[in-house]
């Protein structure tokens, strides 16, 4: 078991290294941070442009391999992911944004998985009954609604509620506004901020889990071995719970694991509407600013998330299904 995980992990580290290096060369080839300075009015002196670019290790007059080697040594020896064109540390910019994104997406991800899977199981067992039809219709609604529209609707409703209540229950921007030392108040303040984006992200996220889990369970529910279980004297519900459910969770588990990266970087619209400085917005800004080092760092974070997810998916599947060998 441990050997299996170690082997897989080693494989993934190699893959990650290749992927990140590839991203570095691609980003260096496509992004021209030089233009950030050359298009400025008044144009800064040429020597100063060169010096700034050299300092950030993004000067296209230096060989890309030299830059790559310099960049790689800094990461390996100092865990320094480099500087942006404006000479700000990528590490310093990235850390709070990862934190903000984590705060934003953790709760909603957990909620959307739990609620989505539970709803999928519930509706699968009531296929074609009114409960199934109702939730499927709702799911289709949330599937087609653009996330910006949904988020704005939630904001509008929250403002209406705030107005009706006469004081501020929900904050519609940012992640915190309390600056005191009381931990309890701080937490309450956080909840007031996080609740709206969480609702928005959960509604959007759970839909796909609901629909796929429903399909997976329906497939398994009609399997011959569920009928065998019933012939032993289990009721239909018991047979589904003990026999069909386990097999149907395997593909969902894999879906969850591989969606981790996109959860972190994909909440751009929600971040924008609720004015949260998360990874998604940072990624977009980095690309717009020709920020090679930041883009690569975010891609690396996404890659690491994906591979951690893949490893978790491997372990999860092997744990559920004995036919997958752990050796």
């Amino acid at each position: 078991m441990l050997k299996f995980i170690a082997k897989r992990a080693a494989n993934y580290v190699v893959m990650l290294y290749v992927a990140i290096s590839f991203t570095y060369f691609m980003a260096s080839a496509f992004m021209t941070p030089r233009s950030n300075y050359e298009s400025r009015t008044p144009r800064p002196p040429q020597a100063s442009i060169e010096r700034t670019l050299d300092l950030a290790n993004i000067n296209d007059h230096t060989s890309v391999f030299v830059r790559y080697w310099h960049w790689l040594t800094n990461i390996v020896t100092k865990w320094d992911w480099g500087l942006s064109p404006s000479l700000e540390s990528v590490n310093k910019a990235l850390a709070p944004r990862i934190l903000a994104s984590t705060e934003l997406v953790t709760l909603s991800t957990v909620l959307s998985i739990v609620l989505g899977v539970a709803l999928g199981i519930y509706t699968a067992q009531r296929q074609y009954h009114w409960q199934d039809r109702l939730f499927s219709t709702l799911a289709t609604f949330f599937l087609v609604i653009p996330s910006a529209v949904l988020a704005l609707m939630i904001v509008l409703i929250a403002i209406t509620v705030n107005d009706a209540a006469g004081f501020r229950i929900f904050y519609v921007t940012g992640l915190s506004s309390y600056s005191g030392d009381n931990l309890l108040l701080r937490f309450g303040d956080f909840l007031q901020h996080i609740i709206l984006p969480t609702i928005s992200l959960t509604l959007l996220g759970m839909v796909s889990y609901h629909l796929t889990q429903r399909t997976y369970l329906l497939d398994e529910m009609h399997a011959d071995y569920v009928r065998t279980a019933r012939s032993k004297g289990l009721t239909r519900k018991q047979a589904i719970r003990r026999h069909a459910l386990r097999a149907s969770l395997i593909p969902t588990g894999v879906n969850v694991a591989f969606s981790i990266a996109s959860v972190f970087t994909g909440a751009v619209i929600t971040e924008s509407i609720f004015a949260i400085n998360g990874l998604g917005r940072y990624f977009i800004t980095a690309i717009n600013n020709n920020d090679i080092n930041a883009s690569v760092a975010i891609a690396a974070f996404g890659g690491a998330c994906t591979l951690v997810g893949a490893l978790l998916a491997d372990i999860f599947s092997a744990w559920l299904d004995p036919r997958i060998k752990m050796s």
Partner: protein
């Protein structure tokens, strides 16, 4: 898992409500007179009573009336065989007994156990008796066990569901006992195995162990051996009989195979279009079938134990759709005895022989009984087309396909990043046979013996890995370019097993038939003409060419496949289990068609099948395969009467014969265990591990079996060739 069972304490069994009251009616009285079977007439009270059972499903096409008025009683220790083709309602009947029908099924009538009515019970109520009083063995053992749980857990579950307080060690002991009972070696260790580590036959044994765990009163076996090979089928039928003896349960054996019921059942119920059409004790039914459908069914099956000297008698047409059952007798459109009056009213079961409780439903039953009509009277045996070329002795006809020492190995890849080759699977290892013009050679063997791989190697038209394939005088190793290969392909065609999936559902029949001709660059007029010709050749209306495959029945679709294969006028036809997926009454028609085509067109057939009865009927010569090797090769008649290889003999003895009297007196050679994996390395004889002869040999001879690989040789006793160091004598009869 264990704890979950304890929490879910079941409600009390619904059977405790009953007082064991029995319905005494004419049906029961009649069944009590059924005495012509191995066990004589039933004794005592029945354990289960089914009266006027009706099941219907609401489908998109309309109401599907799957079961329409079934009556029977079950006695402990007796076996009721329910026989019928697909769509006859036999499986639906079985599932309604145990309450496992889909939700959209509407069940009416009465099913009583211990005087308690079971119809209309909720899932929870039925679950108190399922597994405890009534158990079921399903058709496909590969999918019937939960892949994620161990065998031990799955057997224990059936115990703990009904006896949640059973102590852990008792459960364990009972599981070991059950696995031992169904013949699984080292039961103690195998408890921790997962289903995928077991073969199909072993999994079916586990299913039987689960079914008998709580010593039920009724065991329903729904086609329990249909998915298994013939030697494994023999093992499973024996285990089932043992399980019945051990538990004293009543068994309902549902099958389409008349051979299987002949050996295992006491009473028979024949079903057609959802209704019972004949019921009798086993001997009466096979001796005096009285309903024309039963007669036809018995006439349509090839007999493995007698030489094929007459043609099979197909039943014309197809079973009716259960959504739209014709008025009157549902069999009348296919019945040779039918008169216009038959379609007026549906006949009921009437006594054939009151003293024996033999019933049949036919409007002209009195006539049949009075005139003592046999199936040969009802279904006249069609004359065979005598080929004009048959006078020419075999050895003067040219060889069309010659295979010598063919070998095909598949590499076995290891895991890890580089997927190194860690071994090989010898799928085909030394296959030798030759077919002459107008001759049928059957390739027989169990699944995994390499039959299909052999066919694919021939169809490839490539140089084989080792050995030699010669098609119509062309050595495949010497074919140089694609053009030559394409030219040869015209003469070599293949027909697959499943006519459902081997025809493109989005292609009209015209295109299906025209495609091979277009590939050979025929012009449009010739194709038009040829397509019409082909349709007539296989007995289909040429006007149907614009229909799609889904508009045809299984038998018709297989005729289309045959027509497609014949399009380019091939000299050799490879047939991969061409009739295995068809119902018995349809099979006969396709077999006859193949025989006629051969007589007309002088084609050679390489016929792959696992059904030995069919092979005895259709083939001139037979090659028996075991683990990739041809172990016996000779004239069909000679191989079937005087098998020389011990495996052939075991294979022949495992075939169930559709004749109860012969079945009862035959002694079976039950091979131990399963076929070993072809990935193993065998120094000596591949059959040695299971050979029933080997233990009787001397120490020295046994060493020879284990160390020296036998090759095909013959001797002076007969013309058959065999790959065995110590062949059987020719006086060893197989049946």
């Amino acid at each position: 898992m264990m704890n979950a069972h304890k929490k879910n304490k079941q409600m009390d069994s619904i059977l405790t409500e009953g007082n064991g009251e029995i319905i005494h009616d004419d049906i029961l009285a009649n069944e009590l007179r059924e005495a012509h079977g191995p066990k004589g007439a039933p004794q005592g009270d029945p354990i289960m009573q089914v009266r006027d059972l009706h099941v219907s499903f609401a489908t998109e096409a309309g109401v599907c009336r799957a079961v329409r008025g079934v009556n029977f009683d079950l006695w402990r220790g007796r076996t009721l065989g329910i026989v019928g083709e697909s769509g006859s309602g036999k499986s639906v009947t079985a599932l309604s007994l145990i309450g496992l029908l889909d939700d959209n099924a509407k069940v009416e009538g009465s099913i009583r156990m211990n005087g308690v009515e079971l119809i209309g019970r909720s899932d929870e109520e039925m679950s108190t008796i399922r597994g405890e009083n009534i158990a079921m063995v399903f058709q496909d053992p590969l999918s019937a066990l939960t892949p994620m749980f161990t065998i031990g857990d799955q057997i224990a579950e059936s115990l703990l569901t009904h006896h949640p307080d059973m102590p852990k060690d008792k459960v364990h002991d009972r599981c070991v006992e059950l696995l031992g009972l169904v013949g699984i070696p080292q039961p103690e260790e195998r408890l921790k195995s997962f289903p995928h580590e077991f073969s199909g036959g072993m999994r079916q044994r586990v299913m039987i162990a689960i079914a008998i765990a709580n010593e039920p009163d009724v065991i329903i076996a729904d086609e329990p051996t249909t998915a298994l090979d013939v030697t494994i089928q023999a093992q499973i039928l024996e285990v089932l009989a043992k399980a019945q003896k051990e538990t004293g349960a009543a068994v309902v054996l549902i099958t389409h195979d008349l051979g299987v019921v002949a050996g295992a059942a006491d009473d028979i119920l024949v079903m057609y279009a959802g209704r019972p059409v004949e019921r009798a004790s086993i001997d009466d039914l096979f001796e005096k079938p009285s309903m024309p459908y039963t007669m036809g069914l018995l006439g349509a099956v090839p007999k493995p134990h007698v030489a094929a000297n007459q043609r099979l008698v197909p039943i014309q047409g197809n079973p009716p759709s259960l959504v739209d059952i014709p008025s009157g007798c549902p069999f009348s459109p296919r019945c040779p005895l039918a008169t216009p009056e038959c379609s007026l009213e549906e006949p009921n079961l009437e006594p054939v022989d009151d003293s024996q409780g033999h019933l049949a439903s036919c409007r002209r039953l009195k006539e049949i009984v009075d005139k003592d009509l046999k199936y040969t009277d009802v279904f006249p045996i069609p004359d065979a087309v005598r080929p004009q070329w048959a006078e020419m002795p075999r050895d003067q006809r040219p060889v069309t396909l010659d295979v010598e020492h063919l070998v095909k190995h598949f590499p076995l890849k290891g895991g890890g990043m580089f997927r190194r080759t860690v071994g090989k699977v010898a799928a085909v290892d030394d296959v030798t046979f030759s077919i002459r013009q107008g001759e049928t050679l059957a390739l027989v063997g169990e699944s995994g013996s390499g039959k299909s791989t052999t066919l694919m190697e021939i169809m490839n038209l490539m140089k084989p890995e080792a050995g030699r394939i010669t098609v119509l005088g062309h050595d495949l190793a010497e074919i140089k370019n694609r053009a030559e290969r394409k030219e040869l392909r015209k003469d070599l065609q293949i027909i697959f097993q499943d006519p459902m999936s081997s025809l493109d559902p989005r292609m009209p029949i015209y295109d299906v038939l025209a495609e091979p001709l277009r590939a050979q660059h025929w012009n449009k007029d010739d194709i038009n003409h040829r397509v019409g010709e082909l349709m007539e050749l296989v007995g289909l209306n040429p006007d149907y060419v614009d229909r799609f495959p889904s508009q045809f029945s299984g038998g018709q679709r297989q005729r289309i496949s045959i027509a497609r294969a014949l399009a380019t006028d091939p000299k050799v036809l490879l047939l991969d289990e061409p009739i295995a997926s068809l119902d018995v009454s349809i099979q006969a028609g396709v077999i006859n068609l193949l025989e006629d085509l051969q007589a007309k067109l002088k084609i050679s057939y390489l016929f792959v099948a696992h059904d030995l009865a069919v092979i005895r009927h259709i083939s001139d010569r037979v090659a028996v395969m075991y683990l990739g090797q041809v172990v016996e090769l000779g004239e069909t008649q000679e191989v079937f009467t005087h098998p020389r290889h011990p495996y052939t003999k075991a294979l022949l003895s495992a075939i169930p014969v559709p004749d109860p009297k012969i079945e009862r007196t035959r002694s079976r050679i039950i091979l131990s265990g399963d076929m070993p994996s072809p990935a193993e390395n065998f120094a000596g004889c591949r059959f040695a591990s299971r050979c029933p002869i080997k233990p009787t040999l001397s120490e020295e001879q046994r060493k020879m079996c284990e160390s020296k690989r036998p090759v095909l040789t013959g001797d002076e006793l007969n013309d058959t060739q065999f790959a065995c160091h110590f062949p059987l004598d020719v006086d060893e009869a197989a049946f």
